[in-house]
């Protein structure tokens, strides 16, 4: 089965961690993750400046690894991201900011990617809640 995963919870909340664990479990069971779409406060998962203590799970790195080693597409909603100060290099240039905090395998794109992903997937699951 092919899943579209929407992550609407920030990296310090259970919602985001559950989303990641679900992706891992689905892949292990032989399912496909078509796309992970980060929306609302979920865009903070893409923040590469996150630096949690070394004895805690670094969820940003977990997602990054999922993208790099399993080829899962990690798409961050551009509108939700820029209003929260989450920018890739292109957006940093566009808004004349001196720093960027989103880089591949995370890519920024529009909300249409959420809808399109849901159309292509067999099931869409949204993980929300928390801050």
């Amino acid at each position: 089965m092919k899943f579209q995963i929407n992550v609407c919870a920030g990296p310090s909340s259970q919602g985001a961690y559950s989303a990641y664990r679900f992706c891992q479990a689905a892949l292990t069971a032989g399912h496909q993750i078509g796309r992970v779409f980060f929306y609302s406060n979920g865009v903070y998962n893409a923040n590469e400046l996150l630096s949690p203590p070394s004895d805690e799970t670094d969820l940003h790195q977990c997602w990054r690894q999922l993208g790099e080693s399993k080829g899962v597409e990690l798409v961050v909603c551009i509108a939700a991201a820029v209003r929260r100060g989450m920018l890739d290099a292109n957006e940093a240039e566009r808004y004349d900011k001196n720093a960027a905090n989103i880089s591949p395998p995370f890519i920024v794109s529009g909300l249409g990617q959420l809808v399109e992903g849901a159309l292509e997937a067999d099931r869409t699951i949204t993980f929300g809640g928390g801050a």
């Binding site: 609302s40 849901a118 869409t124």
Partner: protein
């Protein structure tokens, strides 16, 4: 591109968090893809539909006006939990848009017919 029935579910009030507005943005994106979009408002989510909203006092945009615009984007199916209106002392006359009030069982039947449900 195939066609699916989407229901976007909000139970958050219009101000105080970005959830209600961000859910409407998904509705608009779905409208662009010419999908069958329903908006379902539960609990405090119904406050987003109130006609008399004056959020300028707290420097926010008016959600009632945003809701009234949805029809222009082809989103005409706005469903409201009848119970949520009653519990808040509201009637359909208090709302900025025409809605379909549903009881709990009808909400269940509606959701069972959907392909994609997104609840922020």
């Amino acid at each position: 591109m195939n066609n699916k029935a989407f229901t976007l579910i909000s139970s958050s009030p219009p101000y105080g968090s970005s959830k209600s507005r961000e859910l409407i943005d998904i509705a608009l994106a779905g409208g662009v893809f010419e999908q069958q979009i329903s908006l379902l408002l539960l609990g405090d989510g119904v406050f987003a539909l109130l006609a008399e909203q004056h959020p300028a006092a707290i420097e926010q945009k008016n959600h009632g006006k945003l809701m009234a615009m949805l029809e222009l984007y082809g989103i005409e199916n706005i469903l409201v939990a009848e119970r949520a209106l009653g519990e808040r002392g509201l009637t359909e006359q208090d709302l900025a848009v025409s809605v379909s009030p549903l009881d709990d069982k009808a909400i269940g039947r509606h959701l069972a017919r959907q392909d994609v449900c997104i609840n922020l």
